[in-house]
Amino acid sequence: MDENNIFIELKNIKKIFPGVVALEDVDFDVKYGEVHALVGENGAGKSTLIKILGGAYQPDGGEIIIEGKTANISATSMAQQYKIAVIYQEFNLVPDLSVAENIFIGREPKVGKTFVNWKKINNDASEILKKLDIEINPKKFISDLSVAEKQMIEIAKSLSMDAKLIIMDEPTATLTEKEVIKLFSIIEELRKKGVSIIYISHRLDEAFKLSDRITVLRDGKKIETKITSETNQNEIVSLMVGKVVKDYFSEKKQKTSDEVIMEVKNYNIADSIYDMNFQLHRGEILGFAGVLGSGIHHLLRSLYGGEQIASGEIYFENQKVSIKKPSDAIKLGIGYVTEDRKGEGLLYDMSVLQNLSIIIIKTLTAFKGLFIRQKKELDVFNAMAKELDIKYASVNQRIIYLSGGNQQKVIMGRTLVSDCKVLILLEPTRGIDVGAKAEIHKIMTALAEKGISIIMTSSELPELVNLTDRCIVLYKGKLAAEFNRENMDEEKLVAAEIGKHIYSNN
């Protein structure tokens, strides 16, 4: 390919962290106006790579060439000067500043040299937002925005600094179908303008839909770069996991029993759930589908005592129970795996072992919870690590050094060791690579076959369609539809999710 149409080129980049080699001799380049998909399992080094491009990390070796010249992205501010914008998964927005201020932070239009030009900053902001047709008042504070809105603000931000290269890390992870469509059209726009884009996603279909080329990373090494039109999903997947994955979804064998383990009767949560009724059978995988605002997360959280319920009854094993706080749920044998691993899952400063045993630690003690029996704790851990095939260097390794998939397994294990009867899974495979996804799915079906009932929700419809025995669709906090394995497919779910109106992707 001819050099001068390459915007940025990385030559054998290297990065080491205590305990892991994050990147090893990675070569990588992006052309002008190209959408370059970057795929790979968690821990493959994608986020490290983009942090280097964003100037957050300094490489321990190798060189970066931007527009033919060797570049040294020594700070995030440098990245801006090189016209590189990174949209991280964890947003970089300032809660106590307004939308407009966030979009133009560091580049505010000024009166003179020092004073903020409030008029201009707000006008410019609303202009950009209009371009993305987002209806958000630029004077609003970020702390008052929803996740999806924040996502959009991030994009607006990178547009505002007319970046030549925009890096998007899992941009669709938290978006609804509708918003995804919007995002894609924006990306098309940018591509036409000659803006290069590095697109990172676990959703291969997206990568194939958008990208010109796809680069696969595995274990910190670059495996291959493929022209998208000349490859297919299976090939990429096998490149990612290093082996060919047969069944993406593991089919659940046996039929679920009719025994009702949990029942929810005319359940209401203020402003989010209205008069909900459903039963959960032993060994059943019950799915919940719904777009943002459907209230699912409120519902599932409150079933675990993460939120106060407004009214309604819960029967557990035919006993009327009240679940006020998580400990109540745990006592009953209800487990919960959050969708927000970072925010409310991981105990970063603690070891893998401590993370797994935290829920049941009191039971692993001698003399009435006086002191911990380390041996026993270790046994429990090893058993679970084996069952879930958790990969770790040492039990005392801090959990943040594990890959996303393994972190997720530990957090699932955390609830599983408390041998729960009902498991509530929110977005069990969010931000997890294909290989790990398949594993998680296997684990889930296995659990269900062991007689554990699972309540799950996922923004990836295929997951719901292929995994769940039954799927309840909520629309604006009300039960909109219910499907079971036989009669459910993605179209029906989507239709129900958006309130019956069938809508097409174009």
Binding site: I16, F17, P18, G19, V20, V21, Y304, G306, K325, P326, S327, A329, I330, Y336, T338, G343, E344, G345, L346, L347, Y348, D349, M350, Q354, S357, I358, I359, I361, K362, T365, G369, L370, F371, I372, A385, K391, Y392, A393, S394, R414
Partner: protein, 326 residues
């Protein structure tokens, strides 16, 4: 299973070494330096006993504070707490004897700690502010209760606790040792320690794991009270009086300094009791050394500040070497 290889660059090796031995090195350097320069007046058994036993004043109070800071909280009321508990205990001792007095001191301190805890958790007032308010209130109450008359401690038992010695060692050393053993045990061997860590590192995750975050915090603040109480007993015993205005003056900052110097992150989540103990010793060893060396007391202040900064920067150096963000 170990298919993830552990690689440490020399830098990182240095960092971890620093993490493990930095404070000890500082302590030994200080001790060695003054021992060589001052010889007998510093490097003698009596002086060492003296220094260690006086480090219990800050050392014991710092235990509770270490827990507290680990949970990402803060208590700057302990100085006044020490005084209030002290005067109440002392006046109780005058009427009901030393043993009662000692118990009263510790119980009162514990209750005051509990009060802080309740304010922080139930009324949702940030710890720093709650305790800032209490700093004024406790001290004021101490004045009001005693009408500003020092309460003398004459009871032989109580006096012994701070001044007597056992097996040739000052008694406070044993008490401090005991406190650290218990605390160490709670932190590393008991579930409570895990809870503290969990709450400190990610309280939302902790509560979703069925931990009652509020109770943990309340307990932590109460523990501060208990240890401050013990410290008040020893201090009162050494001073032979509880003076509402003098007692525990500036205590809070001495203690917090020790904890932070000991390597406990103010952000919470991680910390080490061993570090705290070493830090407490370092401060006393340094100050005593300098005054024994007849360093001009103004220069002493300058030196103390500088050493503090240097010592803490070593901790930062560790993180830098390890390539971790704090």
């Amino acid at each position: 299973m170990d298919d993830i290889k552990i690689v440490l660059t020399p830098k990182q090796k240095a960092g971890s070494w620093l993490g493990s031995f930095g404070l000890i090195a500082i302590l030994l350097i200080i001790f060695g330096f003054f021992s060589l320069t001052l010889r007998g007046t510093y490097f003698n058994w009596g002086n060492i006993k003296n220094m260690v036993s006086f480090s219990s004043y800050v050392g014991i109070g710092a235990i509770g504070m270490t827990f507290c800071i680990m949970t990402g909280n803060f208590d700057i009321s302990i100085g006044s707490m020490l005084a209030l508990a002290g005067v109440l205990g002392a006046s109780a001792a005058l009427k009901l004897g030393g043993i009662v007095g000692v118990i009263v001191t510790i119980v009162v301190a514990a209750l005051l700690g509990l009060l802080n805890g309740l304010f922080v958790t139930k009324l949702k007032i940030p710890a720093f502010i709650t305790t800032l308010g209490m700093l004024f209130i406790f001290r004021a109450l101490a004045y009001i209760y005693t009408n500003n008359n020092p309460q003398y401690i004459t009871d032989r038992f109580w006096i012994f606790l701070g001044n007597g010695s056992f097996l040739g060692l000052p008694f406070p050393i044993f008490i401090m040792g005991l406190c650290y053993l218990i605390a160490f045990f709670m932190l590393r061997k008991a579930p409570f320690g895990r809870y503290i860590l969990a709450v400190g590192t990610n309280s939302r995750a902790a509560s979703l794991s069925g931990i009652n975050v509020e109770n943990v915090k309340i307990l932590v603040f109460t523990l501060i009270g208990v240890f401050v109480g013990v410290s008040a007993v020893l201090n009162g015993s050494m001073l032979g009086a509880a003076n509402p205005g003098m007692m525990g003056d500036g205590y809070e900052f001495q203690v917090i300094t020790a904890v932070v110097l000991g390597g406990t992150a103010l952000a919470g989540g991680s910390g080490s009791l061993g570090g705290t103990l070493l830090a407490a010793l370092i401060v006393v060893f340094l100050k005593t050394g300098m005054s024994n060396a007849q360093v001009n007391s103004y220069w002493q202040q300058v030196a103390t500040g500088v050493v503090l900064i240097v010592a803490v920067s070593l901790n930062k150096l560790k993180f830098w070497l390890l390539g971790q963000a704090q």
